[in-house]
Amino acid sequence: MQAASPHNQHQDQASGTPKVGLFVTCLIDLVRPRIGFAAISLLEQAGCLVDVPQSQTCCGQPAYNSGDDNHARALARNVIAGFESFDYVVVPSGSCAGMIKKYPPLFQGDPAWQQRAEALAARTYELLSFLVDVRGFRPKGVTLHTSATYHDSCSGLRQLGVEAQPRALLASVEGLSLTPLPGHDICCGFGGTFCVKYPAISNAIVDEKARDIEDTKADLLLGGDLGCLLNMAGKLHRRGAATRTFHTAEILAGMGSGPAIGEEG
């Protein structure tokens, strides 16, 4: 493993085309690749040069949240090494972006790695917050005539302050009306490994969430974290609800007329 090396990321920044490494997240990789392509499209529209390092796998959150620090550290090293050459790391998930920001304390007593972890954490952003806060981006010419409601996923909301950004971006989509979701800031019961370790509690939570979503009568459910979206979409489908679920990036990238989660396309 190479030692900390000087970064050249600011050269690209200076030229106005930042080099962005997209961290795809394991769930997007496995279940819904189109979110990754939507993210690339939005980042390119926002004037970034995007690459997806092949060495990436998982951010290590399942291990970290289970208290398995050794494995979490090993996966953190893999992410740090894979993304060090970029100006920014952008993640279409508040939860995984938040995990990368939690790397530094994992390397207490290892100053070289801690420094690399800190440098990476400082350059890491959740996709929508990057688009708005760093790039000042607004989508142009995107139309979708329908109604939607929005769920704020917990890591993005409370750890990274992602709340106004998705709403501002969605307001630029012509024809889209956003209905507030009561309890939009209440956890959906996904919680990573929580939902499979304590399925009955998780079910009780998401059942309540699904009822709230159905009560809005909105056609679409939107959010920024595929884990939460899979949980809610899976429950809505089991309940026989007509609500269709998309990642916000898909809507913003003009992919909202395609298949929703669970629809064959």
Partner: protein, 488 residues
């Protein structure tokens, strides 16, 4: 059933909730439909009122920060303030006792009751009393205990345990309480309306307040520079417990110290608004020493039992931030897990997120390791905590210890180990995910998978969408290759 023999039917189940596995406690709670109704009624109101109270307090964030700093200061100078409090309490005429464990604390209280020749004691609910098992100790000593908090009165009649730290009987609906009063009260009211139910309880308790030899209370704050204790209630039962009987015994955790009255007032505002959304409770009382010559009322003896019971251990083991806790209950009112399973399922004296941090200290991580795990780490508990306790971080700390000590089930350890091994080897990982995606697609019908081996925890309750034909990485590689070919 008479109030004078309330404990006779206490079951062993209630004595040791940890004897029942966590999953079973959870199932029992989830199956109890009226429990959910009761939880929703109280916590929904509490959340709305707290939000309004915070919104109408422009200085809330500053007060929260100040409250946090006051508690941190006291906790890092605990020895100093304990000595100061003791000296001032003695000066006011109080007798100060020290207890390092719950058994010691109970022994001191029981001994004081015996010396006072007490046949009947009134108790104003305190969480510390629950923590140290005082009700049980009094019962064993043959001392009649009368719970005076309305909710504790309900809990006592039902041979139950408290399920919330502010609303001990939160788990019971009004309808259930009316039924309980009809069965147990000597002159029950016919009506189910709250006013007449309260009147019935008042009539039941009034004589017992007057007849008690000893009153036992907790303390919300111990004020170092005066030696006074502060209690807050909405029913006035603490005042009737601490002033009428000849002897008043306070049991309090050592972390309840504050340097002075102004500090107590900062924390008091944070406590009450976070707990109930009210500006203040109906009764906020500062007690300082026993009755003095010329005083019209007050106890002749005033004892303060200062209890450690794991607190200094928390100080040494990275849990010092938990000692900031004001016991307001906001974390449980806002916890998605608490709001589904209620307080009893947690097993310990303290439920909800704060209980999940404290219970492993009090009852052992081996018994309580499920509690820090059964949390989505969504962070709302910290967001609403009036002293900003990093509950998710502390809970993860317990998970780390559980992992180190091998308390997690083997199947969890093995699957995570396998996942992590794959994720550390990108080539293997790509191969594995490509195979997994194709395998999962075979299970799908009309876009959804409703039963998946090894993932029954998910598919028992929800469907899983059929994955795309190829992983993102496969698609991306092809996309890149195409681009390279077109550029060549």
């Amino acid at each position: 059933m008479s109030l004078t023999h309330p404990e006779s039917a206490t079951s062993s189940r209630a004595d040791n909730p940890f004897a029942i596995p966590f999953d079973e406690r959870v199932r029992e709670a989830l199956d109890n439909k009226s429990l959910k109704i009761a939880i929703d009624r109280t916590t929904n109101t509490a959340r709305v009122k707290r939000a309004a109270a915070v919104a109408s307090w422009p200085g809330f964030a500053q007060a929260r920060d100040l409250g946090k700093r006051i508690k941190d200061h006291v906790i890092s100078h605990l020895d100093h303030y304990l000595v100061e409090f003791e000296a001032n309490a003695i000066r006011s005429g109080a007798k100060v006792h020290w207890a390092s464990s719950s058994d010691e604390a109970c022994a001191i209280v029981v001994d004081l009751c015996r010396k006072a020749g007490a046949k009947s004691v009134t108790r104003s609910k305190s969480m510390l009393g629950e923590e140290i098992g005082l009700p049980h100790a009094l019962e064993e000593a043959g001392i009649t205990r009368v719970e005076t908090d309305l909710a504790e009165h309900i809990v006592q009649l039902a041979h139950d345990r408290p399920s919330h730290i502010i609303w001990p009987a939160l788990h019971r609906t009004r309808e259930e309480v009316a039924e309980l009063f009809r069965t147990h009260h000597h002159r029950p009211q016919n009506s189910d309306d709250i006013e007449s139910m309260v009147a019935s309880a008042r009539e039941e308790l009034r004589g017992r307040f007057l007849a008690a030899d000893v009153g036992i209370s907790g303390a919300n704050f111990l004020i170092a520079d005066t030696g006074a204790i502060c209690t807050v209630t909405n029913e006035g039962n603490a005042e009737l417990t601490t002033t009428i009987p000849r002897v008043h015994i306070v049991t309090a955790g050592i972390e309840k110290l504050v340097p002075s009255m102004p500090h107590a007032l900062v924390l008091l505002r944070l406590l009450v608004r976070s707990a109930t959304g009210a500006d203040l409770t109906q009764y906020t009382t500062f007690h300082c020493g026993p009755k003095r010559p010329g005083d019209r009322d007050g106890p002749e003896e005033f004892h303060i039992v200062l209890v450690d019971n794991g607190r200094t251990k928390m100080l040494g083991e990275g849990l010092e931030e938990m000692l900031r806790c004001l016991r307001c209950g906001a974390c449980m009112n806002h916890c998605v897990v608490y709001r589904q399973i209620g307080g009893h399922a947690y097993g310990g004296a303290y439920p909800g997120p704060m209980g999940s941090v404290i219970t492993p200290v009090l009852d052992g991580l081996d018994k309580a390791h499920d509690l820090p795990e059964a949390c989505t780490l969504n962070g709302n508990c910290q967001a609403v905590c009036p002293v900003d306790i990093p509950l998710p971080t502390l809970l993860r700390g317990w998970r780390e210890k559980s992992w180190r000590e091998g308390l997690e089930p083997q199947v969890v350890r093995q699957s995570l180990g396998l996942w992590s091994f794959g994720a550390r080897h990108p080539f293997l990982y790509r191969l594995g995910t490509a195979i997994a995606v194709r395998g999962m697609r075979l299970l799908a019908k009309q876009g959804w998978i409703s039963s998946m081996p090894l993932a029954s925890g998910w598919t028992r309750y929800r469907d899983f969408p059929k994955p795309a034909p190829r992983t993102f990485m496969e698609e991306w590689k092809q996309h890149q290759n195409k681009k390279a070919r077109s550029q060549a």
